[in-house]
Amino acid sequence: MNPEILVFSCNWDGWSCIESAVSSGLSYPPSVKIVRVGCLSRIHAGLILKALDLGAGGVMLLGCEQGRCHFGSNSDCVTPEYEKAQDILELLGMDKSRLTLLRLPAFEGHKFVTKVAKLIKEVKQLSTSGSPKEVGGESVSLQ
């Protein structure tokens, strides 16, 4: 079974890649869920970690190339948050490759599909460190 991948996509070049993939008949697994946001600067480390906490196997941040942000600032805002999330994953002993920041030119549907397939493959190969605990067994009891 494919791991769940959450893609935070910016509304502009990022989204155009996904639309282009769909309109040219390229397909990606249904386990890839896409959240469309105004700009990647909307995404902070807390949201990325929460996605992983809620069970996503990997997170992709999909946005415009450096200097092509519709609002002129996404690279300034998203990079520190991306790095912060990576540092926390490192401390937690979860593989950094669960998180990827992808900047694409507009309408690069093919590249998006290739990269998302690569992310799924990487997440599949990861060790079990960081996977949710088995639920069940004896519950914690109180005095």
């Binding site: 401390l91 937690l92 002993g93 979860m94 460190s129 996977s131």
Partner: protein, 391 residues
């Protein structure tokens, strides 16, 4: 929700345990409450009355989220009504009804705690240890580092270095020849989740920690973080069966040694004031020991703020949630008190106080009132040992 929790957290047993019916409506709690001072809508006495009247039915009283858990109310209450415990119960109830908590710092601390609680992780949390610190591989005494390595990443924009306090403590323990080991996979103590009413996740963290301690054969724990200290010492025995580990705060070990001359600290010519963290002061009644460490540093002038010891003002922050203007006002007042003493450095024993007060300094640009250097107690004490590190 687990059955055991339901039994433990039913209204009647909480009412009995917190002695909430003994409330005489005298309002002393409200007079001393730092939140009520800046938010007239917040009134501990009325929160209790309202909750009892509604018998935990009906909509959630928004005010329950604004209590900062500083325990000032209990300090003043003539009948020892445990208001902060009652608030915790109401939060637990609110979460059970599906209330979403409004997190600060983009929810990173909560997401991190949840991942530590629910995942089978092997952390890399000890990379910061410098070569000069001696750590035993096998030892029955463990030093509980707490979340300092995480804080330094999460709050890197504030440029706080809470891990320096941990390094300082380890250097002092080395200097006093107290052996200890470090655990590679300890979890957060879970105090913030407990305060926030998220008892399920707190229990998961507590159990994971207990398993880690048992696997390593730990009999004693030393920590420098007041919140970890209080949680491990008071919280864990209350919630976990089979908990028989002795927990000590680093000052409890080090201060007697400075007094009998076994641990000699160096010299620092600075003027400092000590801020009592709530978890160490009002909760754990450790007032003398941290001051004892400061007193044993030669050349250090220690001055007290107007509100100190039992009456010390809290650093003003909730468990990484619902922090707002009121909290900032409390922090500003505390920083102004420190500044008014004429001290160069505000010394605190708690990494969280350090973070919250530094955060407040970032938010207030109004001149000098809040500008004061903030340092960790152990970092300062360890600096006196190696004067070349003194800046």
């Amino acid at each position: 929700m687990k059955e055991v929790n339901k039994q433990f957290f039913d209204l009647q047993s909480v009412v009995n345990e917190t002695k909430i019916r003994l409330c005489l409506d005298c309002g002393k709690c409200t007079v001393v409450c730092p939140v009520a001072r800046y938010d007239p809508g917040f009134n501990p006495r009325l929160i209790v009355q309202d909750a009892l009247k509604r018998n935990s039915h009906g909509p959630v009283d928004e005010n329950i989220w604004y209590c900062i858990g500083c325990n000032m109310c209990m300090e003043r209450c003539n009948y020892n009504v445990k208001f902060t415990d009652f608030i915790r119960f109401m939060r637990y109830n609110a979460l059970s009804q599906g209330t979403e908590v409004k997190c600060n710092h983009s929810g990173i601390p909560h997401a991190t705690m949840h991942m530590m609680a629910n995942r089978d992780i092997k952390q890399h949390r000890l990379k910061w240890i410098p070569a000069d610190i001696m750590v035993k591989e096998q030892c029955q005494t463990a030093f509980f580092v707490g979340c300092a390595p995480y804080f330094d990443v999460i709050f890197n924009d504030l440029n706080v270095k809470t891990v320096e306090g941990t390094k300082g403590t380890l250097r002092l323990l080395n200097h006093a020849d107290i052996p200890f080991t470090l655990l590679h996979n300890e979890r957060c103590c879970g105090r913030d989740l407990l305060l926030l009413g998220d008892t399920e996740e707190f229990l998961a963290l507590a159990q994971a920690n207990l398993d880690e301690f048992s696997a390593k054969g730990i009999k004693e724990i030393i920590t420098n973080c007041p919140e970890c200290y209080y949680t491990l010492k008071v919280g864990y025995p209350r919630f976990l069966k089979n908990w028989n580990i002795v927990v000590r705060h680093a000052t409890e070990l080090l201060t007697p040694l400075t007094e009998n001359g076994q641990l000699v600290l160096g010299k620092l010519s600075r003027k400092v004031t000590y801020h009592d963290p709530c978890a160490l002061g009002r909760y754990s009644r450790i007032f003398k020991q941290p001051r004892g460490i400061l007193d044993s540093i030669k050349g250090l002038e220690v001055v007290e703020m107007t509100d100190n010891r039992e009456k010390a003002l809290c650093c003003g922050a909730n468990p990484w949630a619902y922090c707002g203007l009121v909290n900032k006002q409390i922090q500003k007042e505390r920083l102004a008190q420190a500044k008014a003493t004429g001290a160069d450095i505000l010394v605190t024993g708690c990494p969280k106080c350090q973070i919250h007060l530094t955060c407040a300094q970032k938010n207030f640009e109004d001149g000098d009132v809040c500008r004061i250097e903030i340092q960790d107690l152990f970092h300062l004490a360890a600096q006196s040992l190696s004067p070349q590190e003194e800046n």
